[in-house]
Every structure is written in structure tokens, then in C-alpha cells.
Symmetry: C3
Subunit: 150 residues, 3 copies
């Protein structure tokens, strides 16, 4: 992983992050957010994975059903955000659409994805603190704007 | 192709909008745009719907063919824009990709979607007025840059 | 719904580009990037194509396998970036998801797409120079942050 801050101004900061073959995208981007101390950001990405695991949220069981995509696939879209979790650390939330060799697609909540050969991420950081709070009724953490600070 | 530089420097405003279970996304975001007086913006979103109706534009009939997605689905991507319509009010245009329980996907022009449990929207407003004008030849309104003002 | 204004940003330049029926999107956006002298940008787009050709990258053959989508389709998402290639000219990289009449989807690396009736592109230019360099081991050019300048 390499990262570079490519624009600066009074407020929003744009980062480009490039992941290389073999890197697991969710862990790498979480590490970037932690090391950069990011407390609020949005991101988009394109590239390709050699395999991925995505999730579909099952309201009844309050958990993600895992879906394995065990083949080389284009990352057609990745859209996500960074907020601060209950543990005080940056928490990443990303959804992806993957394109298979025949042009069909799969997708879900990104659990893990192994990059091959690249993932190009544009992350826009804003000087605020978005909060993601665990919701006991749902079993997952959601952004809580009432707890968000500038 | 027409292009227009619509904003520079310390001008864009970033809004985070969180929708809750039971809210209809198209109506809620249109209401937000109206109440905030937004005349030009782009947006991305992720989250989940308990059901949605999307459209595919049929050139021959000049109308959207409705496609019902009547099951819990991840909102894998939502990308859209806000412009001002012929009635002088903010007009929302959003396309979405939805992920089903088996990882397959559906998508189209967003007509309506009922949130469950959240929709996380990042909307970037710029200080310009994009215009969407009804095109009699097509039956729908398209952005008209010639009518756009800074 | 809750909303919060979390930033007012700077330095980046926002362009809106509207393509019309019959225009080939990849060529038109490449021409725009060249004519505008863009050296680093990200973009999103929605709209519709009357047909498109997308690619899936085959690691073994170091080339894109072509997938033809020969029917009217919604452009559900287009996400991409602009960097400067080895020839010193702006180089466009875009991935798309397309929605067919039955709500099913196709997608891949955008090779070409013929617009019908519109493609609405929001391109955010930043004052840096991203470099895309041909990788002999892969057969394609990837963004190289080590060669990127502010």
C-alpha cells in the first residue's frame, strides 16, 4: 500500500491510496485510516480482486451471511465511508460490486478482498468526527449523527 | 458533449444524510434537497433496503419500465445528482445497484426504496444552479448545461 | 432523516460534463481530459447507453477479454480516475455497472459505450499529477504514486 495526500485546503483532504497484488483491501484501508487518524471520510475505488468475501445483512439473525466470490473479478465499484467506532478507532464501511469473466456481477458488504493487480482508492477526509455506534437491536454499528462532532 | 466548470476552491459543501428504517429514500432525499435549497449537487450512498422499485428507460415508449425488487437487499451503490427542474424545485436523479441474499445483483433508475436499517448518503453541494429541462422528444428531463448558471 | 453539514472544501475543481445520444463515452471523456489539461481527477457518472463493450482483465493473457452488451442499458454506476500516461497525455480508467431491461446487471472495465440519451458526469480535478505507468509484467498501466507530483 502507498498513499499520498494530493490536495490540501482549509478543510477537505483528498487521499489517493493504491493497493498492490496480495493485499487484503479491508484490512489495508482500515490500517490506513488508523495510521492517518481519519475520523470522517468517504471513498470510492475501482480495480480488481483475485477473490473476495462479501456479506448480505440478515435482519432476522442480526448478522452478515457470507458470500464467497472465489475467482478473479473486476472491482466495478466500491463506495464507502470512515467513522469512529465505539472503541475510538476508525471504522470502515464499504459496499462493492464485482464483475466476473462473463460480465455478470456479484456484490455485497465488503468483508475481505484480495487485490490483484491493483485497487485505486480516492478517499476524501473531512475535519469532523462521524460516530458509528453499536445498535443492540440490530447487531451492527450504524452512523449516529447525534454523536457526530465538527 | 458540453462541459462546465461549476465550482472552485472554498465552495463545495459536504452533507452527510442518514436515513432510518421505514423511510422512502427518494422522497426523503428530495425533501432534504428542497429544505436545504440545493440547486446543484452530486451524491453517493450505501446501506440497505427492505424493498425497492427501479426503472429501465424504454426509448420507444418514452417511459420507465418498472422493476420490483421485493426483498431485503444491500444498496451496493447509489450515485446521483441534484439539479433544478422546470418547476423551479430541486430534482433528484439517482441510479442504484442492489445486492440480494445470494450475492446476485439488480439495479436501475431509483424510483423508490424503503430503507432497512440505514442509508448513509454523502452529498456534495456546489454553489451553482444546474438545470434539468423536460425533453419532449424523450419524455424525460435531462440536465441542460446551456441553462446552467454559476 | 438527519443531516449535517460537515465541511466546506477547496483547491479541487468540479466539472459537470453532459454527453449526448450517439457520443462514445470513453473517447469523449478522454478528449475532455486532454482539452482541459487534466492531470489528476476522479469521476462518477450515471445515464444510459444504447450499447457498450466492457472488459474483464485476464491475468494469464495480460489482456482484457471483451464482453459485448448490445442492448439499451442504464449506466447504474461509472467510477473512474484520470492520470497522466507514459505518453504524457491524460489517461482515463473507468469501471461501469449496466442495468438491463429486466433489472439484471452486467459490468466491467469500460472499453466503449454509446450514449443514449444522456450521460451525466461529475469530474473532480485536483492540482496534482497522478502518473499511470505501463507494467511489463502485467501488460497494462497502473497508477504509480512514487512518480506522482503535487
Amino acid at each position: 500500500m502507498k498513499s499520498r495526500h494530493i490536495a490540501a485546503d482549509a478543510e477537505a483532504q483528498v487521499h489517493v491510496i493504491i493497493l498492490d497484488s496480495g493485499e487484503e483491501a479491508f484490512a489495508a484501508l482500515t490500517r490506513f485510516a488508523n495510521e492517518s487518524g481519519i475520523s470522517a471520510a468517504s471513498l470510492t475505488a475501482i480495480g480488481a480482486f483475485e477473490r473476495a468475501t462479501v456479506g448480505w445483512f440478515d435482519i432476522a439473525s442480526k448478522s452478515y451471511r457470507k458470500i464467497e466470490v472465489d475467482e478473479q473479478c473486476e472491482v466495478l465499484s466500491a463506495i464507502g465511508d470512515v467513522a469512529v467506532g465505539d472503541d475510538g478507532k476508525p471504522s470502515l464501511h464499504v459496499h462493492i460490486v464485482l464483475g466476473l469473466a462473463d460480465g455478470s456481477t456479484r456484490g455485497g458488504h465488503l468483508l475481505s478482498g484480495t487485490v490483484r493487480p491493483t485497487l485505486e482508492v480516492v478517499l476524501t477526509e473531512v475535519p469532523a468526527t462521524l460516530r458509528r455506534r453499536k445498535r443492540g437491536d440490530l447487531g451492527i454499528a450504524l452512523i449516529d449523527l447525534a454523536a457526530t462532532r465538527d
